[in-house]
Symmetry: C2
């Protein structure tokens, strides 16, 4: 069996990109610094003390998730997944893999009145359901969405059992979402209190939307398990892609000021995955003035938008290109038509051939411009691959947090904005008194 | 009449964000440097020598665009807009304003076999049309898409006149897309050779998709005109928002290393606009090691993804928050339900009230964390507002290019990747010989 994914960091080395590239000595020192944290991570995993990743090995909750999903699928043509940040990005990353159109999933992650008006007029509320997700049960946007959208659905299907079209996901204990679920008499799946929102993609938070989209959620987990095993197979971390990735990232930051981290998959279906990564990396590492700034890009599209900047703008970035096997896939350009156009280089080439040539060309071009570039390759973009990539980047993020000396699991700074928003609402004359 | 938009840079000043903020003296010097370039820009505009913006004043092509749009709308349930970068992002930014669902517009901007397979199986090809856009007429991805998708459509509607469901946009002269259009016997709208792709949003490139989506394209242009007039009304540029914006951006880069420029609108409908901006800024300024790196963010969603990094990560960013009037808009949370939930702060508040509180809170929070923050405010996110924002950012980008000493209109570095991709295709055994 080939590995579930491979990583190639040769485009980050000094012999590829010149001065400022990583040298074997510098990488060795960076890897030395990972030795203790990697021991901690491996031990936690082996002792079932790393819930965000240990959940990948679990089968216990699969039947529950699938049963909720099939109940909702049976009773809904449209399902709103209400949640924001870690409560939506993992589900979005997974459901992007599905080509199914029914039931239609709408991720409502923003209390934008225009979006909500369009949603309300665009669906048959009598055949609509909702999954409401908030770890704390108290996320303001999620509550505002749930308390406006769910009553409309309930009003539209008075004869139906709410359990057939509504479900919530929240921590145990007293919290607003649990109280609403009790009031509406609908089930709540437990959100593990030890798994932060942005690390919850492999739990029901990511897998219930995936199951609603008809995906094989056991494959998501088995892909994650394969990636974890691939990494923990390396006792000292020197052969673990996530450890090496963290060491290279942090050495490029230290050594040449690569303070921006661009993730550029060559697959439309991975665009939401790149946004999931963007949250994971930003919120886990961006604190105490530290961290690097993640950017989600998309090949081949961003060759026509961002590549000029990447190649010739400020040299302050590291690039990770996610490639897949594309040769021969897709429809073929007729040689006759290519001749008519005067575009003979496309004669007989499939769309996949072009994407395949472009992902290689972009990597070559970045390296030729001395930009540090890593490749992560998967054979197909499917459930197992995305599960594996999620596990990889969770591990890489946590290892990077150790190296930066920050807590990968908190997000203290955003509390300030929440309090300011609540204070503003409290003085809002259009609300509460009306 | 209030201005079509307003700009507030007070959150960029030293008295708001402390040392490293812009001082009046520094801003004065930066504005001095804009004096000559602004004279050039104003003269070019007055002499009809700035086609990307002068087109906003034109009525001549409106009827043509509307006539093509109504023909395609009549004969199509689905329309593929085939183009990449500047040939798609402007249309996407505009069509995001439309709530109409028919005809369904699909922007095909990537030769991704999986996306194309889903498109082919998800539409009725016998009721599908296409708009194919490439300024040069030779963009590889666009040709690959056109030469695979259009033949499938033609095969599915053999009895229909291709002119009723197909149209191309390309420069005059001999080029592959013109040759294909001739071969298929379909009309071609002329792409002004003096308007680069990323500056083409106010031409048919942006307005034909907008018209297909049922938008008022004259309003787009009149909004742009309002914004241009607002700016050129200031002879020395010191009251022109785009000039001041460029001066502040470049002074923040020079003075405190604000090398990342985050654009964060509080409106789902502006998310594609932020991606349009991202291309405009990156490709126009990112050269010779200069420029700043644009990031598209979205309020309130990214409060739960990126805000932690923005507030507490590396202090290397400038923020532009686009706000709109939201108070009282949207559905209202029932006070009774808020009480049941124990979320009394939401009692009687609309979703718009919450968004309104959050856009203010985010600006306050960024400034309280000493992060340079500008506000651009529009009253409503509609055709006129987006036309105005497009004109503003084109002007600001061009003024910034003057200040950086780079050519805003070329993108020399990406040629390398194109040649590498073609070289790879030429040796691709699955193509041409088969």
């Amino acid at each position: 069996m080939p590995d579930i994914y491979t990583q190639d960091i040769s485009g980050c080395f000094a012999d590829a990109i010149g001065d400022g590239g990583v040298t074997p000595d510098a990488l060795g020192r960076a890897l030395d610094a990972t030795s203790e944290p990697w021991k901690i991570v491996r031990e936690a995993l082996s002792e079932d003390d790393f819930p965000a990743l240990n959940i990948a090995y679990s089968q216990d909750d699969i039947a529950d998730i699938q049963s909720v999903a099939s109940r909702l699928r049976e009773h809904c043509d449209t399902i709103a997944v209400i949640g924001v940040g870690g409560s939506s990005l993992g589900g979005e990353a997974l459901t992007a893999l599905s080509a199914r159109r029914a039931p239609a999933l709408h991720f409502l992650d923003n209390p934008d009145p225009e979006t909500l008006a369009r949603f309300r007029t665009g669906v048959d509320l009598a055949r609509t359901g909702a999954v409401v997700v908030s770890k704390s049960g108290g996320t303001a946007e999620t509550l505002s969405l749930a308390m406006t959208v769910v009553p409309a659905i309930l009003a539209a299907r008075p004869a139906d059992d709410p359990q057939s079209f509504l479900v919530a996901i929240a921590e145990e204990g007293e919290n607003p979402l649990r109280r609403l679920a009790g009031h509406w008499n609908v089930p709540v799946l437990a959100h593990d209190p030890d798994i932060g929102g942005r690390y919850a993609a492999l739990t029901a938070v990511g897998l219930l939307p995936a199951a609603l989209a008809g995906l094989d959620i056991e494959l998501v987990r088995s892909g994650a398990v394969d990636a974890i095993e691939l990494n923990i197979g390396s006792e000292d971390g020197r052969e673990a892609p996530a450890v090496v990735g963290a060491a290279v990232s942090m050495e490029l930051l230290r050594g040449r000021g690569a303070r921006v981290s661009v993730l550029m998959p060559y697959a439309d279906a991975l665009a939401p995955f790149a946004r999931w990564y963007r949250q994971l990396w930003a919120e886990s590492l961006g604190k105490n003035g530290r961290g690097t700034t993640p950017i989600d890009a998309l090949g081949a599209v961003d060759q026509h938008s961002q590549l000029q900047l990447y190649l010739d703008g400020p040299d302050d970035k590291m690039f990770t290109v996610i490639t897949q096997d594309l040769d021969g896939r897709g429809d073929r350009v007729s040689p006759q038509l290519a001749q008519v156009a005067g575009a003979e280089y496309l004669a007989g080439q499939t769309t996949g051939d072009l994407m395949a040539a472009e992902q290689e060309a972009t990597i070559e071009s970045l390296v030729a411009h001395d930009r540090p570039t890593r490749r992560i390759a998967v054979s197909r973009v499917d459930e197992a691959a995305v599960g594996a990539l999620m596990a990889h980047f969770m591990l890489e993020t946590i290892m990077s947090a150790f190296l930066l000396g920050v807590d990968a699991f908190d997000q203290p700074a955003v509390e300030d904005g929440k309090q300011r928003a609540r204070a503003r609402l409290a003085t809002n004359k259009t609300g509460s008194t009306s």
